[in-house]
Symmetry: C2
Subunit: 505 residues, 2 copies
């Protein structure tokens, strides 16, 4: 069996390498590529995708898995090898079920959909996007039809981003969250207030901002020998390899909070990408296990750490030295209050921590309705506007700040949005457990000692890579299933502690 196992490991190593090439192509396109390179890049990426797909769906791989599975069944189920075989089978089965012509159509529709979306936004006219969206909905149905064994059609979409997550599980969780957040936002929110209560506003040149961000990230654990930080339009983090982590951020010359908090967010993603066990490197287990768990890491650093009282206390003198004027006149309590203020607003990417999940819940409700046919594409803009009023109490002035604000649907990404909120829920569950283990964590953060926190995350989350499916990982760490109340408790306590809510409700 050792020869077949070596063959599988070799194949998975090559698939891992090809994935790394794909990540580099994306990173380069978003940060470095001159605009003229786009058409050739699309072709090169398509060729790489074909090579990747051919390796993933090779009949030899299927036969190899047939031969290895009886052996794997007798191994320690927690061993790397047993898990490698399990994930290889799962990836293989998902890949072979999608016919090549449908895969090609999905790729084409992505490019066309994004183009239509850009044009519709430029014209502030949903009707220009309508057909492309209808096509995406139709293609999702064709994609779903490739699979059986899913209870709800939407489960097939969720499973691509959050393996094993079901609509049946998600619906009551999101309903519970919605029913708690709507009154919380009503109580704590002030639609007139500026984001972060106007802290971080001023005129800050990009070089100053970048040095200040690197100063903060360096203290957190950013290693310049293994990491980069570059500007981009829509920030992301990319693990080209565990020792080659690329963060990106965006600099707003009038608001330092944009770069600071997006860098904290991407740092959380990057740390996950960097932290897998060396034994998993160059295997297909060497990846974050799901978008939800990935987002739990970014949200944990952005919000649970980054908007805590302890972090504000540590951050304040640092920023006064590196970005004079950004938080001038504030004390720790003032900064802590400012970064936790709540203001219902129109655009998801600009939402505060409290209102953010209501933006996601709206998208989840609309996606489900689009997919089960209870909502037609033509009725989507009205449903969007109605939902924003119902959930956040805001009136949408037009499609650019409304139904056309996100790129995701244009690219066929449905079932993806829920993982943003899952990240908040999982993050809070992990945060509870972490605080049980690290009783001193607030004092450590206030002293700028981030190693224990980083190590806890590495030990419990990062090092496993993709070895354990997300629900199993959560159970192993917390003993729990997905829950809403840890997040709500965390949020209410913080809003009360920061003086944003009069009392903890």
């Amino acid at each position: 069996m050792s020869e077949q196992l070596a063959d599988l490991r070799r194949r998975m190593a090559e698939i891992s390498d090809l994935g790394s090439l794909g990540a580099l192509l994306f990173w380069d396109q978003q940060t470095m590529m001159p605009p003229g390179g786009a058409p050739a890049r699309a072709e090169a990426a398509a060729t790489l995708a074909r090579v990747f797909h051919a390796r993933e769906t090779s009949p030899d791989l299927g036969a190899l898995l047939d031969a290895l599975e009886p052996w794997a069944a007798e191994q320690d189920p927690d061993s790397d090898d047993a898990r490698l075989v399990w994930w290889a089978r799962r990836d293989y089965e998902k890949a072979v079920r999608v016919p090549e012509d449908l895969a090609a159509e999905l790729t084409r529709a992505k490019a066309l959909g994004q183009q239509a979306w850009i044009e519709a936004r430029a014209a502030a006219d949903f009707s220009l996007f309508r057909d492309a969206l209808a096509r995406q909905v139709d293609l999702r149905h064709r994609y779903i039809a490739c699979f059986d064994g899913f209870e709800h059609p939407y489960d097939a979409l969720l499973d691509d981003f959050e393996p094993g997550l079901t609509t049946a599980e998600l619906r009551p969780l999101f309903a519970e969250l919605r029913d708690a957040l709507v009154p919380l936002v009503s109580a704590a929110g002030d639609v007139e207030q500026e984001r972060n209560a106007g802290a971080f506003k001023g005129e800050f040149d990009v070089v100053t901002q970048k040095l200040a961000v690197l100063d903060v990230l360096g203290a957190l654990g950013y290693d310049p020998d293994r990491w980069r930080l570059d500007p981009t339009l829509h920030p992301f983090a990319s693990g080209i390899a565990p020792d080659d982590v690329r963060l990106t951020t965006r600099y707003d010359e009038h608001d330092f909070a944009v770069a600071l908090y997006s860098a904290l967010h991407e740092f959380g993603h990057g740390l996950y990408e960097a932290g897998s066990d060396r034994a998993l490197w160059r295997t297909t287990l060497d990846d974050p296990v799901s978008l939800g768990v990935h987002e739990s890491q970014s949200r944990l650093w952005e919000n649970m750490v980054g908007r805590s009282r302890a972090f504000c206390a540590w951050l304040l003198p640092r920023l006064n030295a590196t970005v004079p004027g950004a938080v001038a006149g504030l004390d720790t309590a003032g900064l802590y209050h400012a970064v936790n203020t709540v203001q219902p607003s129109l655009v998801r990417t600009e939402a505060d921590e409290t209102t953010y999940n209501l933006h996601i819940i709206l998208r989840f409700e609309l996606e489900l309705a689009l997919m089960d046919g209870s909502l037609g594409v033509d009725d989507l803009p009205a449903a969007w506007d109605e939902g924003m009023d119902r959930l956040l109490g805001v009136q949408v002035p037009g499609p650019v700040e409304g139904v056309l604000q996100d790129v995701h649907w244009s690219a066929g990404l449905m079932g993806y949005f829920p993982t943003y909120t899952l990240g908040n829920l999982i993050g809070a569950q992990l945060w509870d457990r972490l605080r049980d283990d690290l009783a001193d964590v607030d004092a450590q953060i206030e002293r700028g000692e981030f190693a224990p926190l980083r190590e806890w995350l590495r030990e419990h989350v990062h090092r496993h890579g993709r070895k354990f499916p997300p629900r199993e990982l959560l159970r192993r760490i917390t003993g729990e299933e997905l829950r809403v109340d840890p997040f709500l408790r965390y949020l209410r306590e913080k809003l009360a502690d920061a003086g944003v809510l009069a009392t903890a409700t």
Copy 2:
């Protein structure tokens, strides 16, 4: 036949895409990758190389070429399709002749050789590099043995970099050049003089230098929508795609000439990469045809344009505005004289235009002797030092400035060095022809009108990509075979005109 031709074009498009990915990997590694990424990058590059090799050597491709060749023989021999079939056959035959285990050993020896070279340089001890070099010589012999039909073993090496070039052709050319240059350097050279007679020396920050370089390149034809310029240790240009050209340069904070002339050099390479006919894009004809022709383009911009009297006249006021102090106190004649001074020196990459080819001729002589067995690896350092004295009249103080100065041999690159000098020879032959066609070129350059020059090069050289083999391309443009005297005449006239030689000798 149209179906088979479409199949060939599809295969060549994918090979072209994979080549583009390889170029991006290299560019990224040299400019962007954090150092920690190196081991994973080596694996990813090796996987890509295997994918590339598998496509190149696919038996289906061989069968397809068998089927297409009778058809191609009846097409216009100058048609793209006929040439595509011809080059595909050539590439295929070269690729399939190297057994996979030898190819793997060549790759491994490259990494090991470079490591040994780095250590030997750090210790200034050739003996630490000796075994790795002997291994490279041995592997070259095994590589050569894969091929028949070459008159001289060294021809097999040359052919990889300059298709069709033979040792029999090169030897008398280089002998003629050597016999002319040695006395010319004696007459014009001054070993005590600084490079560029000390012009460009001072203290110049990198930002100022970069803006000044971009100002010059912008006037020459650098298009920021299709090009980039980044710093690196050893400058190079990479055509990721014709509309995605990446130049690199190096900034010496004490000598602006380093960045300026390396940028002019790489601009010449970049223009070639950017200039192929659109009909050739995403084919295997969409590449510069040889390293020699490639170098003719870089040398033409760096030296024939960049060190001309007309260019100096155009450049001087520009630099006085963008890099105050760099050429302070010089008039056009002074700058023209300074950038054409001759000083025999130890290190190839720092050599002036006149002495440069003697560095190459030494390497050519030594490579031939290593390959035909008349020189043993142990005797190489002494032979190097003797050659430097004989050709340039300089005494080598130690191996770092001597036999260990270049990375090429450590990576197994033998037969590569001659293309640097070929570039100078071809450049001069093209320059003669270009000046016949563009009688007004000096005045145009002095006015900063570079479009006619750029267009001539595109029309006669760049647009053909790899369509015509290098000798054929040269004949088509100039009606000539490779010659030495155009270069010597150009050089002597310039040295006399610039006052570096008392009279044109």
